[in-house]
């Protein structure tokens, strides 16, 4: 048995199929995964994401430290509550993890890492933090709920009384703030509007119940994956990892090259990769024939089979199978994918596949 979040008993009572995810027992789906997907695209759904790692960096050297270990530049964060998406790289320019960092104040930044990478992330930051006057703290007994969908903000804010209700509704995109014990950010992993709520484990069952009372339906990891795939959002461990750089993972936009003097870990290697020219890039594929694109299927471009699907599945919004694939840079408008020994046609598209509930 894996680790359990504070909402584990709720998932079981609600009939969830539980699966292992990065060492945690998490809900895969409560009923139909496709219905859960549509629930988020058309109304509002909630996800238990308490397995994610919340880590606080505090002390006078925090900004200097984060300038060094993140490929994006935390100097873009100057307003309290503002969030930034970034990769954390090894010296070779490959990706240790992707994460969101929040600026709380000049002596406090909050980071949300992935669940499956928790141990190596903590080891990495602790190792590199030694010369800095800074503390790394994992707040104990935390839980996290994501509420997503076109009606997510309205339904989630209805759980609270005024004046907090109005303040939560007024949160700007990619911004967070504390409301009592609840740290609420207008972020997510579905391509829909909504919130992510970090809160004490002791309160999470009450908040979950209150959200359910407002008609926010529980959504499992299965739909979370198809939602983020349609939204064109990468999954660490599938679309990038310690063998790929951000430049061939569709994440070049997250690397802050300026100012040139900022010597972040991985910069030298990444500059070499950039000047040598990357041979591969991450693209979107839509399958034009019957079947389902799956992770690790071979992608054939110009007769060569050196492309690979990094994340594939069925898109409920498009009614077709879609995927991210790492393919040679000179890929044209279409390619072939090998499914069970047969080559089938796929169209190469720009990401995302869907936005605001509709195919793009």
């Amino acid at each position: 048995m894996g680790k359990q979040t504070p909402l584990y008993d709720k998932h079981v009572v609600m009939g969830a199929k539980m699966v292992d995810f990065g060492g945690w027992d998490m809900p895969l789906r409560y009923g139909s995964q496709i219905e859960e997907h549509h629930q988020v695209r058309t109304d509002a759904g909630m996800f238990d994401v308490s397995h994610m790692s919340v880590v606080d960096f505090t002390g006078p050297d925090t900004r200097e430290f984060l300038r060094k270990i993140f490929a994006n530049n935390v100097d873009r964060l100057t307003t309290p509550g503002k969030a930034l998406y970034t990769c954390m790289l090894k010296e070779d320019g490959y990706v240790i993890d992707d994460l969101i960092v929040y600026y709380m104040d000049e002596n406090w930044f909050r980071v949300v890492f992935n669940a499956s990478t928790h141990d190596k992330d903590l080891a990495w930051v602790q190792e590199h933090a030694k010369p800095f006057s800074m503390e790394i703290i994992e707040p104990p007994n935390m839980a996290m709920i994501a509420v997503q969908g076109p009606n997510a903000r309205t339904k989630a804010s209805a759980v609270f009384d005024e004046p907090i209700r109005s303040e939560i509704t007024a949160l700007a995109p990619f911004t967070a703030a504390y409301f009592g014990d609840l740290f609420i950010s207008r972020t997510g992993y579905t391509g829909e509007d909504g919130f992510e709520i970090i809160l004490p484990a002791s309160q999470v069952n009450d908040v979950w119940r209150a959200l359910y009372g407002e008609g926010v339906q529980p959504i499992g990891l299965g739909a979370r994956d198809s939602l983020r795939l349609e939204a064109g959002m990468n999954l660490y461990g599938s679309d990038m990892d310690e063998t790929t750089s951000p430049l061939e993972s569709g994440l070049g936009w997250t690397v802050a090259w300026d100012p040139e003097g900022r010597d972040f870990i991985g910069r030298a290697a990444l500059e070499k990769i950039r000047s040598a020219g990357t041979h591969k890039k991450l693209v979107g594929l839509i399958l034009e024939e019957k079947g389902v694109l799956r992770n690790h299927q071979k992608v054939i471009v110009n007769g060569l089979d050196d492309g690979e699907i990094t994340s594939g599945g069925f898109s409920p919004t498009l009614g077709k199978s879609i995927a991210f694939a790492r393919v040679p840079k000179d890929v044209g408008g279409s390619c072939k994918v090998e499914i069970r020994g047969k080559q089938v046609l796929a169209t190469v598209v720009k990401l995302p596949f869907a936005r605001n509930g509709k195919p793009v």
Partner: protein, 129 residues
């Protein structure tokens, strides 16, 4: 508990079989569809194709994974359910009406090796825990 009709025969690999004369109608069980989740694509065999017992002869793809369907008996495919191409989800909603293929038995004695509803319920229960 999943639905296991008493009048059908079953395999350990979660196919159900209904026999009429020398033709067996084959689908996947309620337990199997529940494990796999929402069906999104079903590939049936070609009419006229021959299979030995245990050969993979069809594929059911759910949101979760692609799974082979094995021929429960040896014989020749005489009919396939083309309706599943446009309505794979019927395997979820009505697994015992949503047959995949009909196969003409080449050795009727193979039916004796199949599980009855009682034995299959035991297999399904073991595999849920």
């Amino acid at each position: 508990m999943s639905n296991v009709p008493a009048e059908l025969k079953y395999t350990k690999s979660h196919e159900w079989v209904s026999v009429d004369g020398d033709v067996a109608t084959v689908g996947i069980t309620d337990h199997a569809q529940d494990l796999l989740g929402d069906m999104v694509f079903i590939e049936v065999p070609d009419v006229g194709a021959n299979f030995n017992k245990g050969d993979d002869c069809a594929v059911v793809e759910s949101v979760k994974a692609a799974s082979d369907v094995y021929s429960p008996v040896s014989g020749e495919i005489v009919e396939v359910n083309d309706d599943l191409a446009d309505a794979p989800e019927s395997v979820n909603s009505d697994p015992y009406q949503s047959w995949l293929f009909k196969i003409k038995l080449s050795d009727a004695s193979e039916l004796d090796e199949m599980l009855d509803a009682n034995a299959y319920s035991g297999v399904a229960a073991d595999d849920s825990h």
